[in-house]
Amino acid sequence: MTTPAADRALVRCTDVGRTYGSGQSAVVAVYDVTCEVWPGDHIAIVGPSGSGKSTLLHLLAGLEVPTVGSLEWPGFGGQPRGPGSVGLVFQTPSLIPSMTVVENVELPLLFADADPEEARTRADEALALLDLRDLRDDLPQELSGGQAQRAVIARVLASGPRLILADEPTSKLDRANGAHVADVLVDVSVELGAALVIATHDPLVSGRLSDEWPMRDGRLSHLDVYDLPFPNPIERQ
């Protein structure tokens, strides 16, 4: 039975596992994961390549379906879709090449049936916040890696999600740009009051986040939800 306190969690995973393929060739990417993400959380999922970080992130975003266990989004009314739900940031700048920066940023709002003028205004504001106003009419191919990743974050900001999921957002950037992007992500999540979960193996990024979930061989290595460094859910009441 669900308690009222538990309902405020954005995502809850219980014994979740994700296996690709079957039989001898089956690959277990995520195994027996139990976790929760709450509003305001700043979590770094850390671990080596192939440890299952990205798959867990995709599960949290609802892009993947678990093969075992239960995955719920109580904070989103059941499904993490629609405006103001989840904002995604990928390893490479995921901008549509044939759209300008501002068009890319306003696109999620238009998909959410926002008024085009309002969507444009919000996109411009987001770009201004990320110092990209001057590049609003440029095509993604004209941006540097850092600028493009910031444009992606502007897109997230403009759509105002309550959960930001970022998969190795700085892995393709140099150290300075990586640090800048990590700062921007944290600032944006604070600005929005959103939870931020970043899959990374970069200590520069994980160090900027309050919580760290180590991951190895598809399993989160924290022992119990109550042993984790973030507050006990019951205490949160």
Partner: protein, 885 residues
Amino acid sequence: MIRLWIAGLIRKQPGRLLVALGVAIAVALLASIGAFVAHAKATMTSRAIRSVAVDWQIQAQPGTNPDKLLQLVRTYPAVQSAAPVGFAQASGFTVTTGASTQVTGAGLVLGLPPGYRGTFPGEIRTLAGSGSGVLLAQQTGANLHAQPGTEVHIELANRLSATVTVNGIVDLPQANSLFQTVGAPSSAQPTAPPDNVLLLPYAQWRSITAPLAHSRPDLVTSQIHVRLHHSLPADPAAAYAQLIGTAHNLEARSVGSALVGNNLAAALDGARSDAAYAQVIFLFLGLPGVALAALLSATVAAAAAGARRREQALLRVRGAAQRQLLRLVAAEAALVGVLGCALGLGAAAIVGRITFGSARFGATTGSALLWAGLATAAGVVVTAGAVLIPARRDLREQTVAASRQEVPTPRTPMWARYGLDIAALIGAGLAFSATRSNGYQLVVAPEGVPTISISYWALAAPALLWIGAGLLIWRLADLLLGRGRRATSLLLRPLAGRIAPVLGSSMARRRRPLVRATALVGLAIAFAISTSAFNSTYRNQAEVDAQLTNGADVTVTEPPAADVGPGLAAQLAKIPGVNRVEPMLHRYAYVGSDLQDIYGVRPGSIRSVTAVLDSYFSGGTAAQLMHTLQTHPDAVLVSAETVRDYQLHPGDLLKLRLVNGRTHQQVTVPFHYAGIVAEFPTAPRDSFFVANSSYLAARTGSSAVGDFLINTGGQNVTSVAAGVRALVGTSATVTDLNSTRGAVGSSLTSVDLAGLTRVELAFALILAAASGALVLGLGLAERRRSLAIMSAVGARRRHLFAAIAGETTLVGVGGAVTGAVLGGFLAAMLVKVLTGVFDPPPTAVSVPWGYVAALALLFAGCLAAVVLGTLRVASRSVLDTIRRL
């Protein structure tokens, strides 16, 4: 490294190999049409050879010893067998039976050696009695009331005579060539065969005519009839030229003692212009298809060019030398080329087997192999043009940075800056009007001259129209997608709603491949429409020709002496399957010294039973001129030649002399010239008149009908004809459209042009479908990443559908509409330029609505498949793509 590269290409990017499909279409089309034309030409030659009974008739010149000449001819290398034939002029033939004596006018007595009929089986056909001995020609037999066993008295000049007993009655199917004037100039009118002919065994002929040959050598001539070895070139023109040369050589060897009547060359003379037309049709209808398939290959290759450029940029960054990259590109091109050529030749073989029952399209193995080789060479050129050359140019000219650009900067091509499209269209118009105004003839094959001339300049107008219109479609699509992005957004709004402006802008930036796809779709649709319209018009005109010759679906022709009134029409109308029956009078009328046919029609109803087209007349439409005949019963339609010869002007009084049916005396009937008629159902090709039947009957005192034209609505023609035959018996000749259709077709139609058109129409459909599905599909596949990103940032299925369907619809519908317009223009131009192919010339281009509907359905189906397929793939591969982001 190359093996690794190829394996990776096959496993990871099989879409890149789809270029091979375009190459395969080009190869298959070229091999099919090439082999077909080679087969068609060979068939024309063999049909022409088969139609000739005696290949050469060599006339011994006065003073020549026929035996020596025969010896010379028999030793001539090209001659297979030769037989002497004697011709002697007789003053007449007489048969006396009891008290009655039948006498004919002048005639010919022929002497035929033993074995003649075995060597030349097509020359004589036995109708009654024995096939050897003394034979009487059918008409002579009828004139003399003779039959086998009848004694015929031959009257020769100088009171010489002989009496022979008839052994058989024969028909001479090739009397025109048998009794030709050997050595007559090619411009001379053909001489009519004699009315009376008697054939004797050669020895008997010689003994009877020897005194005449001595006293009147001018009345006795000798010919040598020759059968040649038929090792002739397959092309009728080459065979004709070879035969002319061989005949001249023999004449030269005989030192003037022989004159060759070259029947075989005369038969090939007609076939060679048909062969030239077949070649021209191949060029006009086949080459655009091949060019289109090449364009399709290039467009498909260009759809993958971005990925290839980025891949090359990556390899360059990793240190690959330009030479190594070139080798990889060459390996890819070779794979595409081999695959495309193999698929194309295989497809051609299958098409040949399905359409003609032979993988070689009926052509000889040599011709089929030659065309397979040519098609393969074309495939190699297409592959090089589509894959190798652009990739090599990219490698040499593009920087790594430029290569990695996902959205290339749209630039105005040089041709667009200089207005090449407009110039080509103006050029097409000028070339078209020039060819039309200069008494233009597409194929000129002067009789008796070995050379044949084809006006290849006529190709200029349609070729320039293809180029100009293709480029214009490009320009218009570029304008719409680029500067007209607001319009694009408006067009997209019903599908895309609020994201329409963003999609419109995105399409504007990616317009290069979209514009290319639109132009290709336009050209493919234009090819399909123009080819089908041309073929449909051709088929219609062949049908009109058959109907012109036969008169109607079923025609009853009364013999000249019959006196059957229009009342029979009512009985004929009762036969099951008959829609309408129209009686038509047929008389002969003298104008000056010319004897011409005159037809009496019921102007108000003639058009309800048979096709009476506007193109048959000058000076008014068919309806107007029939109305004139109706309202002015003494009006008459006259042939152009008569109008010219007698300097007639509309309204002029024209007095014709006709035979009165009651008195059998000539009467003068006044008519007024009302218009020009060039063709009319059942009428001969030369001069004739058309008048009002009531007026004609009243003035000639007889309503005897010449022909009953029966309309069956095109259904059950054969069974209706059988019913009509049962009614009229042997008193009249009954012909039907089905049998006439086969008889009137030229060798061009008889070599199964329908098969070629089926092949062409199928290829046109494939090209239209491929250009729609392949090009758009590949373009969208290239955008899978964008669609995945859209999905990841909140796009719902309807948004993805709008993005895919909006683009596909704009490109597909834009291309199809402009293509349909271009196709219409091209069809009209082709029909005008290839007017010599049509007999009679068409009034208008015929649109094959069934095919157009099938094309539209197929094309719409392809677009729908592209949209749904891309949507499915995009939805399924979102995660896969996101994993790589």
